[in-house]
């Protein structure tokens, strides 16, 4: 019963934290777009929070390099359980065209467990909403 209430709460109120692991900034802009009045994700209870401690969802953008990889891991550990990670953009999903770069270490999903991959360069806000809807279906 308590678990049910909690799951309901989690589904209706996802607080997202935006972890930019050195993206080219375009994915970040699209995430900001998502939070503008036009798309109004607060309808679904999605709110951008400023501290990883408050977050339920980690939005990761960009390719992890030597500087950001350990910090990303650190950030992930700071989010209280239960938590989900969405990799936004082709960079976060597969390292994209930066694969051969000198400072590339390893894919995001080898650093932290990724639940949803959302390719696109950058993905549209509509695609992100779609991803979150799919995520909600996954939460049980």
């Amino acid at each position: 019963m308590l678990k049910k209430i909690f799951t309901w709460g989690l589904k209706k109120s996802l607080w997202v934290y935006h972890a930019g692991a050195s993206a080219c900034n375009n994915c970040d802009i699209e995430i900001l777009d998502l939070l503008t009045p036009k798309f109004d994700v607060e309808r679904f209870g999605i709110v951008l929070v400023g501290s990883p401690r408050h977050a339920d969802v980690l939005l990761v953008t960009g390719v992890a390099n030597r500087q950001t990889a350990p910090r990303l891991k650190n950030l992930y550990d700071q989010v209280p359980n239960p938590k989900v990670v969405i990799a936004i953009g082709s960079c976060a999903c597969s390292a994209h065209m930066f694969r051969d770069s000198y400072n590339y270490v390893k894919p995001i999903d080898e650093i932290i467990p990724v639940d949803i991959y959302l390719p696109g360069c950058p993905p549209k806000p509509e695609a992100m909403i779609d991803a979150v809807v799919k995520l909600l279906g996954k939460i049980k």
């Binding site: 308590l2 678990k3 209430i5 909690f6 309901w8 709460g9 989690l10 589904k11 209706k12 109120s13 009045p37 109004d40 607060e42 309808r43 209870g45 929070v49 400023g50 501290s51 401690r53 408050h54 339920d56 700071q78 209280p80 359980n81 239960p82």
Partner: protein, 312 residues
């Protein structure tokens, strides 16, 4: 024994914790909804604050390494207890004017600082530099707004000649609402601005300042501890307007249906004012806020006080 049970009931269910929490959460929803409408958005559904709370209660609480654990986890509870107690005192007096004691107004003034103190304690205990900045900002904000607030409240005391809620309500019953007099109106405006700061909403959300110091004093909180903070914040959304109504607008008359409707109208007016101020102003810097409170607002409060002395 029976008395004790009745006290427990008053504190925990009606009009204490449960009642205030539910109405307060609904008030935060109104706040978010109106904010959304001001920005031409749809806004969250009515159960949003409840969903947030349910979720937070189910999450893990992380105590940061090196934090003072007892203070870190105890501070939110202190704030919640303070808010609950204030609500109980004010409501019981409004139910029946006889349930008042000497100086209950002073007690409420002190208890009202508890939620802010809780934020300071929690922020300083969490061993995070940004939280410490948030805590120190909250401290400065308290220093800034308490002076005009006390002046405004004592304008009422001066006019009614009593520091008991029961007598203040009785006076307003006989002589009309406080807000109808010149000094009462000024004191009300001052108190309204102070309430804005006590709630920690824009333009005085300096201690939280999401964009500059993440979430300030609450940065390290997660799970149930954060939920308790959010809850006491929500309860303040209900209590502070009720305090204003009690002091300046003749209180709440629950003996007939019209009285309840009249109370709801007063409450909604104050809440709307708060939300509109919130949505039409940018955040002030700390020094600006202190200057604002100690300058124009205190001057205004002093004028109200003097007017009350000459009997306007």
């Amino acid at each position: 024994m029976f008395d004790l049970l009745r006290l427990m009931f008053a504190f925990i269910i009606m009009p204490g914790f449960l009642f205030t929490a539910v109405v307060g959460l609904l008030a935060t929803w109104v706040d978010r909804k109106v904010t959304a409408r001001v920005q031409y958005r749809q806004g969250p559904p009515w159960f949003q604050p409840f969903a947030d709370l349910a979720k937070l209660l189910g999450k893990e609480t992380i105590v940061p390494e090196g934090a003072a654990k007892a203070v870190f986890l105890g501070a939110p509870l202190i704030g919640l207890a303070g808010a609950t107690l204030v609500s109980t005192i004010i409501w019981m007096v409004n139910f029946s004017h006889g349930v008042t004691f000497i100086g209950d107004l002073i007690v409420v003034l002190y208890l009202l600082t508890l939620p802010s103190l809780a934020i300071i304690f929690g922020g300083s205990a969490s061993r995070n530099p940004l939280s410490a900045i948030g805590a120190s900002r909250e401290m400065k904000l308290i220093l800034a707004y308490e002076l005009p607030f006390i002046l405004a409240v004592f304008t009422v005391v001066l006019r009614t000649g009593s520091i008991m809620f029961g007598n203040i309500l009785g006076y307003q019953l006989a002589n009309g609402m406080m807000i109808q007099s010149c000094s009462g109106l000024i004191a009300f405006l001052v108190a309204l601005i102070v309430v804005q700061a006590k709630l920690g909403v824009v333009p005085f959300d300096i201690p939280e300042a999401e964009q500059e110091i993440a979430a300030g004093a609450l940065l390290e909180y997660s799970g149930p501890a954060l939920a308790v903070y959010k809850l006491s914040r929500a309860m303040m959304y209900f209590i502070l307007p009720v305090l204003l109504i009690t002091l300046f607008m003749g209180g709440i008359d629950l003996s007939f249906w019209g009285g309840i409707a009249w109370f709801i109208i007063k409450y909604v007016i104050i809440l709307t004012l708060i939300i509109l101020i919130k949505n039409t102003n940018p955040r002030l810097r700390t020094d600006q806020a202190v200057r604002f409170f100690w300058g124009p607002v205190t001057a205004l409060a002093a004028i109200g006080f003097i007017l009350a002395m000459v009997g306007w």
